[in-house]
Subunit: 339 residues, 2 copies
Amino acid sequence: MTSARDRPTLEEVARRAGVSRATVSRVVNGSTTVAPPIQEAVRRAVRELGYVPNLAARTLVTQRTDSIALVLPETATRVFSDDPLFPGIVRGVSQELEAADRQLVLMMAGSAASHDRIERYAMGRHVDGVMFASMHGMDPLPGTLARIGMPAVCSGRPLAAGAAAAVPYVDIDHVTGVASAIQHLLDAGRQRIATIAGPQDMVAGIERLAGYRQALRGSRHRSIVAVGDFTRESGAIAMRQLLDDDPALDAVFVASDLMADGALRTLREAGRRVPDDVAVIGFDDAEFARYTDPPLTTIRQPIIDIGREMVRLLLKLAEGKPVEEALILPTHLVVRDSA
Amino acid sequence: MTSARDRPTLEEVARRAGVSRATVSRVVNGSTTVAPPIQEAVRRAVRELGYVPNLAARTLVTQRTDSIALVLPETATRVFSDDPLFPGIVRGVSQELEAADRQLVLMMAGSAASHDRIERYAMGRHVDGVMFASMHGMDPLPGTLARIGMPAVCSGRPLAAGAAAAVPYVDIDHVTGVASAIQHLLDAGRQRIATIAGPQDMVAGIERLAGYRQALRGSRHRSIVAVGDFTRESGAIAMRQLLDDDPALDAVFVASDLMADGALRTLREAGRRVPDDVAVIGFDDAEFARYTDPPLTTIRQPIIDIGREMVRLLLKLAEGKPVEEALILPTHLVVRDSA
DNA sequence: ATGAAAGCGCTAACAG
DNA sequence: CTGTTAGCGCTTTCAT
């Protein structure tokens, strides 16, 4: 087997083609200022030797790697669960990166050790920029990267301390989305509207709960809250708590479709008819939400666009251009049979 | 914002600590041959300056990156579908890489352009080794990488031309697994056993169909074949074809659980009872296969272990140690109500 | 135990 | 249009 070390370098290609290293470099990088016959000679030498540029060497001088990281602070199990968030973000990011001819480096960090490794990786400039999604708590990494000049962008407003270097982010209008859901329930004459909130260490969890509280504040309905962690199972459990809390509730806004699906199961087991006895509204407009029984009324968010916009912001940042601090995408209610 | 270029280098740390670059390098890399007081001085300088090693520079001299790529020649949509193969592989790979303190770089290549970019990325030595899973057709990339000395490992026997540099692989014993499924059906007295095969440009598709044919060859049952592409939808369609072909069939072996789920739907729509009228056996032992109606009898394969073993092989290869050419993991039948 | 010096392979001024 | 030259930031002998 050919060893790693005896691969041809620019130098050897140059010698073989009878030109200088610089000329070979020009040809390899597509400069047009090289005479056609020489170009041909160089290309032949490259082919014959099987030359491939050493990216580390190139990066050392150009200071760029042409690759971008997407960091998901979750375990692989979670990332590949049926939560529609991850595929959506990854698809949006992939599309846009493809167009920019940049390589996507997907990094999952479900543990402290892997989080550290990613920090070293990014700080070490293995990538030209870093995107974060599904962040928990007040992760200082985005701010740290921004501070040392590594372009960073978040999906969802970063919860990190205000003093931190500002990290641009893309998010959706949680509050307005939730407001329209609650309004829909109110219009239908629902009296006791509960909510199953998302985890309170994530922006999406916090904002959607805030939206619920704010929407109810106007009316004289009291709030009834249970908290889940965006998984289907937690939704089922939370629904049970809600039913214990207030057996007479007649509507529930659930902060994710996955949890809403779990809630549906609990309601079915409890003998409640949906939407006759209890109306249910989810959040995400996941594919499967059309096939639940009954199909879920839900709040649609443009997940793919979040991915795309993150890339746009990041590439701008990487070019040193100024970028808006936040980009808030709209949401809208999709009415189906469950409410 | 701090620009990328004015980050401190070893040189500056050295100056600040009043030592040479070499000494700083030793401390940063944990060499023990540095006097404690000097170590302390260096560490302080590193902290004060916020020094982070430039990985490209390090890579240039050490010829290693401490990161490993996992290439999935599929679109993001497919990778994040509910096919249990991907999460399983990624989990196994992650676990093992975590233990080895290597960074996983996950690369999806659903298009020709992205496949090319990955080729450049790997050939350019951005990573120390490359693992491939879910390969289609005769992708020459693994062989090419192996030939230039880049460690490469596949999940599933590579279909590429025999003359190619040998790429070690991890696979499962498809044929034996399928044989036990067919035997189970035969033992139950099934007379007309059909199959829904996987795509014939993938090893798993080819081998499982071969297993089916081989198993039937012994008996005097004729084979009835329809081909899908491992998606749920294709399973539903293939089942319809099968029913048209031979309305009297009383059993079907399906090459993946996802397709089996689709087949179940078609059978239900066609008014066939499972397993009374038609027995169904799937492949993969996906989580959801326990919750289908009826629960699927299926063939379990140790997917996570495939990921782990790929990493083991790769790390060995990267150390220049010899490795076995193939590692075949066992499968076994999990009997549930569908057969 | 520490420092000096020689590259790793490449790009980018700058001359010519 | 092409070659010369000077590094990019780091590790690693080899001396001391």
